[in-house]
């Protein structure tokens, strides 16, 4: 599944039972609903292990952070998690500014995040 506009896209692939979302472009109040739809789509399929790869994401505002907060409780209650990986320093700085690494597992690489799900 791919949600796409000219400023943001999110694509989804399943790897080792983990639903991996690949973000690119700008995640702001305009594009956040696309990510929300993508996560909703995974949860509706009964899946709750979600990895978000930020490698190609250039920007995030609080609207983007809010999407992860909106789903984290639900997926953890179902025994899953939303793990975050491969952020550019500028994107990580926004997560870090508000202390999000206290609540979310932020990994440098996708591989190590998937391992945390499977181990």
């Amino acid at each position: 599944m791919i949600e796409q506009n000219n400023k943001f896209s999110v694509s989804s692939i399943e790897k080792q039972g983990v639903n991996c979302l690949y973000l690119s472009g700008y995640l702001d109040a305009h594009t956040a609903p696309d990510l929300e739809s993508a996560i909703e789509h995974i949860i509706k399929q009964g899946k709750s292990k979600i990895l978000v790869n930020f490698r190609d994401l250039d920007y995030i505002s609080s609207a983007g952070l809010g999407v992860f907060m909106a789903f984290i409780e639900e997926v953890r209650e179902k025994g899953g998690d939303i793990k975050l990986a491969d952020m550019k320093p500028k994107v990580f700085s926004v997560f870090d500014l508000l202390g999000f690494p206290l609540l979310f597992d932020v990994e440098k690489e996708e591989f190590s995040a998937i391992m945390k799900f499977t181990n």
């Binding site: 702001d28 109040a29 305009h30 505002s61 609080s62 609207a63 909106a70 500014l97 508000l98 206290l102």
Partner: protein, 150 residues
Amino acid sequence: MNFNNNTYQTEARFKCDSNELVNIREFVISQALYIGLNEDEAFKVSLAVDEACSNLVKHGKKRTSIENNCYIYLDVYSNQNQFIVEIHDKSESFNPNSVPSPDMQEYFKQFKHGGLGIHIMRSLIDDISYIPATNENAYNTLQLKKAIIK
């Protein structure tokens, strides 16, 4: 519309629409770099302005009558020490300084979401002031000041 004595730089008008946020950020970054902020500081100001304008789009648009076109006006100024962005709008007045900062430990514990935009603005900007619209001036003004580090 400015309420200071700083050197005038430039102004821009954007529709009160989330689709414009990317253009608003690009405008602020280009002006900040031109005035002398480094890339990191320019990014911080653009994020703060994005948060302020996102709130206007979310809350302001529905409060403004449909007949009345909804616009956000940005004025950019500088003096020797500061880069200043003023955001003007005609929606219902709302002073972000009236909102207390959240306790993030509690925020995470209760899995809250939303309401972080003003907190981000405060974390990134040196001084935030607000002048609500009056009978004489129909525009609210939010002023964001960022020190120019030389």
